[in-house]
């Protein structure tokens, strides 16, 4: 008995020791040679994913005894619609509008559908552009109120010789230009901060307008005989102009807001009677003594050199607003240029000018005020400056509410205030007042007889760029002008390129 008890105690002790000692104590084996490398164990193939079922599926058999959708309402008597017959009255009255809109609209909709489904715009583009997008020939057209339709073609050559050089050539006819030929060679982004442009153009403009020189009132009736162009009153007349122009410009942009441009041009103009559907008393010579319209008979041949500096810090403070509607910042542009005649042209004068714009943001939207001051002058006398080159006011860009180039003289000053507001992402509205006049010389500047133009309109733009403006403008003259402009109101093209 004592022996069995001792064995039991010993076994219990042995078990206790076995449990408490770490397994490695028993597992340790004397180190031996390294085991040979084995193939990695083959992992079982991943279990195909099981669909996760959170609700039993609805199937054809589970819904077989359910009613059809149209029977869900279980109505034995429907709502009373007896009064709806009266709707036929407005329906009938509006039917012509409905038909007209449908007749016009559905073909456009189907056309757009085809355009997108079959990528027609790309196919059309491939007719006018080559594969590399470096050569393009396409038609252009635009219309101007008072001048009609201009149609032509444009040739574009890009990335010449693998560089950023580009050539644009254009020929068009009609509208303000009976003929318009132009070419442009540009270095574009070839050089980091400088762009060189070489341009040439030949324009035949059969119906340019001339109202006289000075700030006089515009009379309706032609005079009984031709009068001094620098008389008290203005009269509407037309003339023809042929202009040949070659210009070169170097624009240096040391930083994003600052541009310094040096330009030069040779310009040869000849003038004559207006052409087209004009009556005799609309001709310039019928209204004005042509000897008082400097260089009208002889034409003008001049060279022009100019230095222009532009500081453009206009900006769009909010990323939610279109870049075409700056609502803060400044634009300051000043220039000075010298004109010298050749080939018998006695022109010798300095042209100078300043354009100052300030955008004041009133509120997000944006709603803003655009303030502008524009002055332009020439130092030469009336015998030294061609009538055509006198500073001008009037038209959709300078002194709205008046005829294009209605006022011209040796000095012009204009101030403008425009209230701009956004109506939607693509459209904005504006109201403006333009005040200005021309003077014989800067010393004559006064607030007397200022010309006031006012109006408003709608501007269309994309998120990034200006598309166009529709303006209704009037003035103390009481004429009303409607204009559609594809140029932004504040023209920053080089002076040598403007008209």
């Amino acid at each position: 008995m004592r022996y069995r008890a001792a064995v039991h105690v010993f076994l219990r002790l042995l078990i206790a020791v076995a449990i408490t000692l770490p397994a490695s104590t028993f597992a340790d084996e004397p180190p031996g040679p390294e085991a040979p490398p084995t193939e990695p164990a083959q992992l079982p193939a991943p279990t195909p994913p099981q669909p996760i079922v959170t609700e039993p599926p609805q199937t054809t058999s589970s819904v077989a005894s359910a009613p059809l959708p149209e029977a869900a309402g279980a109505q034995v008597r429907a709502e009373d619609r007896s009064g709806e017959w009266a709707l036929w009255i407005p329906r009938t009255l509006l039917f012509p509008i409905r038909v007209a809109v449908a007749v016009v609209g559905w073909p456009i909709s189907k056309g757009l559908r085809l355009l997108e489904l079959y990528n027609l715009s790309s196919k059309v583009k491939s007719v006018f552009f080559n594969e590399d997008d470096t050569v393009a020939v396409f038609p252009v057209a635009f219309a101007e109120t008072g001048f009609g339709l201009n149609i032509g073609g444009r040739l574009i050559l890009r990335r010449l010789g693998g560089t950023d050089l580009g050539i644009t050539a254009r020929a068009s006819f009609g509208g303000r230009f009976r003929q318009l030929f132009s070419t442009k060679l540009s270095t574009n982004k070839t050089f980091e901060h400088v762009v060189f442009d070489l341009r040439s153009s030949y324009e035949v403009r059969p119906k340019d307008q001339f109202f006289g020189i000075g700030n006089g009132d515009l009379l309706d009736a032609p005079p009984p005989m031709a009068v001094d162009a620098r008389g008290n009153d203005l009269r509407a007349s037309r003339f023809r102009q042929d202009a040949l122009r070659v210009s070169v410009q170097a624009a240096y942009r040391p930083m994003s807001a600052l541009t310094i441009a040096l330009s030069g041009a040779i310009i040869h103009r000849t003038f004559g009677p207006g052409e087209g559907d004009l009556v005799a008393d609309q001709q310039l010579a019928a209204n004005f003594d042509v000897t008082t319209v400097n260089r009208f008979i002889e034409g003008s041949s001049t060279t022009y050199g100019e230095l222009e500096m532009t500081y453009d810090a206009r900006r769009t403070p909010s990323r939610f607003e279109s870049l075409a509607t700056p609502s803060a910042g400044w634009l300051l542009q000043g220039f000075a240029g010298y004109t010298r005649g050749f080939d018998g042209d006695p022109s010798r004068y300095v042209r100078y000018g300043l354009d100052l714009q300030r955008f004041l943001r009133i509120e997000e939207g944006p709603r803003s005020l655009a303030l502008r001051l524009h002055i332009e002058g020439v130092t030469g006398g009336y015998q030294e400056v061609s009538f055509y080159d006198l500073p001008k006011l009037g038209g959709p860009l300078l002194l709205r509410g008046y005829n294009l180039d209605q006022y011209r003289d040796r000095f012009a000053a204009l101030s403008s205030v425009e209230y701009q507001f956004d109506t939607t992402e693509f459209m904005g509205g504006f109201l403006f007042a333009d005040v200005g006049r021309v003077y014989s010389q800067p010393e004559d500047i006064s607030l007397a007889d200022l010309r006031l133009g006012f109006g408003g309109g709608i501007q269309l733009h994309s998120k990034k760029s200006f598309i166009g403006r529709f303006t209704i403008a009037s003035s103390t003259q009481r004429d009303v002008f409607l204009s559609v402009s594809l140029d932004p109101i504040y023209d920053t093209r080089a002076r040598v390129e403007r008209r």
């Binding site: 599926p57 609805q58 017959w85 329906r91 559908r113 507001f421």
Partner: protein, 547 residues
């Protein structure tokens, strides 16, 4: 004596009686419909053509709709209780039962995340489109569309998509299984024969160079990981979007014109809540599917897809602050701005950006539930939404608890901890604003049922503490012909539960009884509850007519 024309007679008598004319079958209300009748021939695929659709939406349809002078029609696919039965379009979930947090988290999950089965093999790029995407297969062969956030806006679209997909699924819509994934470049391999598929033109081989170029335009984290959205391929064959109006002509199961579908019109409340401003036809897809239990039977299922621009992401990513408040071209706002010379203050002015990484421009202060607009008016069912449709939608969304919303938002996997709190808070505020608005236009009675001889219902405005104004109720009985049988006693209970005592069947056939419930708070219109005796002789609710 001159005999009046029938139309005039009906008009006159209709006016004289002054009582709604609708009556219901004496039958249990329908909770599910059969639109799964076998379709042996696959319907034709429809295209979404953006230019054409936008032109119609902005220029053509407004004039055609105005000149059509169509009467407003109530939704045509509702049950007698003014609810939407289950169908291939919609399945009642949170509207009729509690959803667990797990269900909210998983949504329409249909399988493992592809994160568990790498590497992924690219089969092709996404067809066309501006944004980058690929068709991938995970190691098990499951296919996904892999999409990415816009560069510079990490987490925004991917988060919005998974959150939106889960919430729409919980509301009852059919949505794809969208999941956020992260991967390293080495876990993405180009499959043999993988192609780049432009929108137009021929496909061409996808090379490593092209892949690297595409991936250089997505957000890549400092550790080289890339975040994306994996959207599992829907089962079946895609048929393109569903028609914006009318029916799919070659689908005999599609019998209710879409502009009369409650489930499509009522989604206005969900869309406005979640700011689903990019809603248009190509955010929908019909799939020709085989029945799960009998693959020889086929029908069309209808899905809502692409929620990446919800929760203010569209406004943020597209720099379009007006989104949700105005159409891209909104003539009414243009006119108001022009006539007021810019003084008219638009709904989005003053909108604030929370500036939290991953979160769009999403807030509740300027949110107007009844004035919300998608960016384009091209999704026509929304133009026909009436207050009953929006009320139905609001009734569904108010059932989400804050915990459920937070669980859904957490699936966005935001790196900034503020994002979950902010989005949850705004979702709750917009949810309550939405419900409060529509519950003020339609008598918010719900869960109407007979308990003994009492007719009981919930006043949702009280139940969800949306309106603390004093309220009383009035109930009046009518027979089948609209003759009053007398006032009934109302016992307001707690938590918005109200019971009407003494409801007895009338002498009309089948004991047809109508109880007019009036909630005297503001100027709420009444609700008519239609009752009749069941085969056992007990009164039951057979219809609910909201006025």
């Amino acid at each position: 004596m001159k005999i009046l024309s029938p139309a005039v007679v009906v008009l006159v008598t209709g006016c004289a009686s002054g009582f709604d004319t609708v009556r219901y079958q004496n039958a249990a209300p329908v909770t599910i419909v059969n639109d799964r009748v076998h379709l042996p021939t696959q319907p034709a695929s429809l295209d979404f053509v953006k230019k054409s659709e936008y032109f119609e939406a902005f220029a053509l349809e407004p004039v055609l709709r105005f000149t059509a002078v169509k009467p407003k029609r109530r939704a045509a696919n509702v049950s007698s209780l003014d609810e939407v039965p289950d169908s291939t379009w919609f399945r009642n979930r949170i509207g009729v039962r509690e959803l667990s947090l797990d269900e909210i988290r998983d949504g329409s999950k249909a399988g493992d995340s592809p994160m568990l089965h790498k590497p992924w093999t690219i089969k092709s790029t996404k067809v066309g489109g501006v944004s980058i995407g690929f068709i991938i297969e995970d190691a098990t062969g499951a296919r996904f569309v892999l999409k990415f956030d816009q560069k510079g806006l990490p987490e925004t679209e991917t988060a919005a998509d998974v959150i939106g997909a889960r919430l729409f699924w919980a509301c009852g819509y059919h949505t794809p299984d969208d999941q956020i994934v992260t991967f390293k470049r080495s876990e993405l391999v180009i499959g043999k024969g993988a192609k780049v598929k432009p929108l137009f033109g021929d496909a061409y081989p996808l090379t490593e160079k092209i892949l690297e170029d595409k991936l250089s335009r997505v957000n890549i984290a400092g550790d080289g990981s890339i975040r994306g959205l994996a959207s599992r391929f829907l089962i079946g064959k895609p048929l393109g979007p569903w028609p914006r109006q009318g029916v799919r002509g070659d689908d005999p199961n599609d019998t209710i014109p879409h502009e009369l579908r409650r489930d499509l019109r009522g989604a206005y409340a969900m869309f406005s809540w979640l700011d689903h401003v990019d809603m248009k036809a190509d955010q929908t897809v019909d799939m020709y599917v085989a029945d799960p239990t009998n693959p020889k039977l086929n029908y069309v299922m209808h899905y809502n897809i692409d929620f990446g621009k919800t929760l203010g992401v569209f406004a943020e990513a597209g720099d379009q602050i007006f989104a949700g408040h105005s159409y891209a071209i909104d003539l009414s706002q243009v006119a108001a701005s022009l006539m007021s010379l810019g003084l008219y203050r638009r709904g989005w002015e003053g909108r604030t950006n929370p500036n939290i990484p991953g979160v769009g421009i999403f807030e509740s202060k300027g949110y107007a539930p009844g004035a919300w607009k998608p960016v384009t008016p091209s999704y026509l069912p929304l133009l026909d939404t009436d207050r009953f449709d929006a009320f139905w939608g609001a009734k569904i969304i108010i059932r989400f608890t804050e915990a459920q919303l937070r669980e859904a938002v957490k699936q966005g996997q935001f790196s900034d901890p503020r994002a979950v709190d902010y989005l949850t808070k705004v979702l709750v505020e917009r949810q309550r604003k939405t419900a409060r608005f529509w519950f003020d236009l339609v008598n918010p009675v719900d869960r109407v049922e007979i308990a003994g001889d009492q007719l009981c219902f919930d006043d949702l405005s009280v139940k969800y503490e949306l309106d603390r104004r004093p309220v009383s109720y009035r109930a009046t009985g009518f027979d089948f012909d609209g003759r009053a049988t007398g006032s009934l006693t109302v016992h307001p209970g707690s938590a918005g539960r109200v019971c009407v005592a003494g409801v007895k069947p009338t002498a009309s056939e089948g004991g047809y009884t109508i109880v007019k419930l009036e909630t005297q708070r503001g100027s709420l219109p009444p609700t008519l509850v239609h009752l009749a005796k069941d085969p056992q002789g007990a009164l039951r609710v057979i219809g609910l007519r909201r006025l």
